[in-house]
Symmetry: C2
Subunit: 351 residues, 2 copies
């Protein structure tokens, strides 16, 4: 019997391996989901390897979860057995702080309960993620998946999707605006699609000229290669909004110079220190650099409905769970277009 | 005959010295102002000494100018001879770019004509600042000074004042908000007064415990010593807005942690690189760090009227022009409460 793939102990340098665990018992407000697909997020790599120094083992990664509801608690009225449902990066929050009361649970002042590498609220029990056959989650943190969407390609929307959708909405991206999406990967290719669907003129900003053709296929109006100083100079001071999906420390200064008066660059990927930022870039045109973290359950639902309306899903490469360690290696090199998704039926096959 | 104090040539390491120059001839839209007082801004020090590598000599510093109108051009209808008038950091702009058309001339895409260390628009002639007996300025860039205000204490409002007033207004500081002003100097003491007058709860954030008593005298509700980690921790995540008046490179990270969800820190003093900013600080609570540059003529007028209404002026130390070099030395050490202002009558005495 295998319940999941993960780390049974503090062995982050070894490959993920078959794993069994005691699952949390469903409560009255919970839904239990049989997992069909789980996306492979860059965070899974960071957390698994304890890159951020906060790893809790044993660990089952995965927070881009799509599945079928197999049981519902007595007080869980939003779902029925058989519904297709999704779970993203969090499974609980304090519910009483100002952000929680404002439907911004991702900014819970007592820290949301992350889907994995966390402890269940008010308990020592570890939360386990989506590289697994089942998950039990409070229905408040579960979203409905419109049946018209391709389920395997929906999974990445639960993290990569909402992480890019939320800032585009918060900073009111829309028609008449010129928007740059920095970095063409799992997040960037969805940010591009959302910004286009919201009506903006969208420029894909990439270090890699080779990615240009694919950016245009994905709907970019133009490609700007950030290593080309003349091209960067041509676009100076012309962007209303920039979305930086770069997942590592980077130098924001060349991008800040692209913003026009009152423009904002939102950082969604880099948690680590950015290169020293010139105060003059901020002051000269009242520019802002900001951050944004995933999205609330309500906003994730809004995004799902928006995706159904506009036919937006992720480009995915579906893998068997037996191939996860190779997928991690390829992910590390940026070799995926644009998201690995585990077909969880392969877990039974692996057993 | 002495017209001004300044640098006659590229001799930034020598003291400012008596200086005569050919003044620009007034045009039909100009007003000519006999200068009564001129504030001494930190920028004067930077520019004089070519700290930013863009010095144009000969140079007459000074952009916090209050004086009496002595002549008006045929098409300059807003002023009459004898009016008290002020001139700040700029004396012209392109007038046709989007910012100029939006009454945000300080962000002119073709760069405003600064009051000194600049060339007159469409000309090779240098612009000379306020350490002088007279100045000639297009009336669009001249503000009316309400007669109820103490003129010598008004001068610093033209730069230090508007630099702090503009971001407080732009980010909608008002009642119910907790606002921190970082740095108690020429800018900070005015930012504190404005934020209080706008109805916010105001905390003066300073590295110097010794400045605490004066901050309370100036109206601060509380003083937070930023070198006290326990005090910083007590205020973590509690500020709606921070105004950083620190005039040099600094580490914004400890301040970012003070902001609550969606809080903004506006930098108005530091043009140089800030210490590496943690992306995680931005992302964790959708925080922003932004910049803001002085203010437009229209907003400067609004501020002057606000100052008259609320009785706000600068704390000043009035000096004779003969003492300017000593004032520069003291300014460099931060030894002024809170702004030197030159009584320009002393120029005639020095002649």
């Amino acid at each position: 019997m295998i319940d999941a793939l993960g780390y049974a102990a503090e062995d982050a340098n070894s490959p993920l391996r078959p794993f069994t665990f005691q699952r949390r018992s469903p409560g009255p407000r919970d839904v239990e989901i049989e997992i069909l697909y789980c996306g492979v997020c860059h965070t899974d790599l960071h957390q698994s390897r304890n890159d951020w120094g906060n790893a809790l083992y044993p660990m089952v990664p995965g927070h881009e979860i799509v599945g079928r509801v197999v049981s519902v608690g007595a007080e869980a009225g939003r779902f029925s057995v058989g519904d297709i449902a999704g779970v993203g990066c969090m499974v609980d929050s304090c519910r009483h702080c100002r952000p929680c009361r404002s439907a911004l649970e991702q900014y819970c002042e007592e820290i949301p309960t992350w889907t994995y590498n966390a402890r269940e609220r008010g308990s020592d029990q570890l939360a386990f993620g989506g590289y697994s056959d089942r998950i039990v989650v409070d229905e408040h943190f579960v979203v409905r998946i419109p049946p018209s969407l391709d389920l395997k390609a929906v999974a990445p929307l639960l993290c990569a999707g909402i992480t890019t959708y939320s800032p585009l909405k918060h900073w009111k991206v829309g028609p008449g605006q010129k928007v740059g999406v920095i970095g063409l990967g799992g997040l960037g290719h969805l940010g591009l699609r959302f910004a286009k669907a919201l009506g903006a003129e969208v420029v894909m900003i990439t270090t890699s000229e080779a990615k240009g053709a694919d950016a245009l296929r994905l709907g970019a109006d133009e490609v700007l290669v950030s290593t080309d100083p003349a091209a960067m100079e041509r676009h100076a001071g012309s962007f209303d909004f920039l979305l930086s999906t770069v997942p590592v420390s980077h130098d924001a200064n060349p991008y800040m110079a692209l913003l026009r008066l009152d423009g904002t660059m939102a950082v969604v990927g880099a948690l680590t220190p950015l290169a020293p930022l010139l105060g003059g870039h901020l002051i000269a045109a009242r520019r802002s650099i900001a951050g944004s973290s995933i999205g609330s359950p309500a906003e994730t639902q809004e995004m799902m409905d928006f995706c159904a309306e506009h036919g937006i899903v992720s480009d995915v490469e579906v893998i068997d769970i037996a191939d996860i360690n190779e997928a991690f290696r390829r992910l590390e090199k940026g070799d995926v277009r644009y998201r690995f998704v585990i077909d969880m039926a392969s877990l039974k096959a692996a057993a």
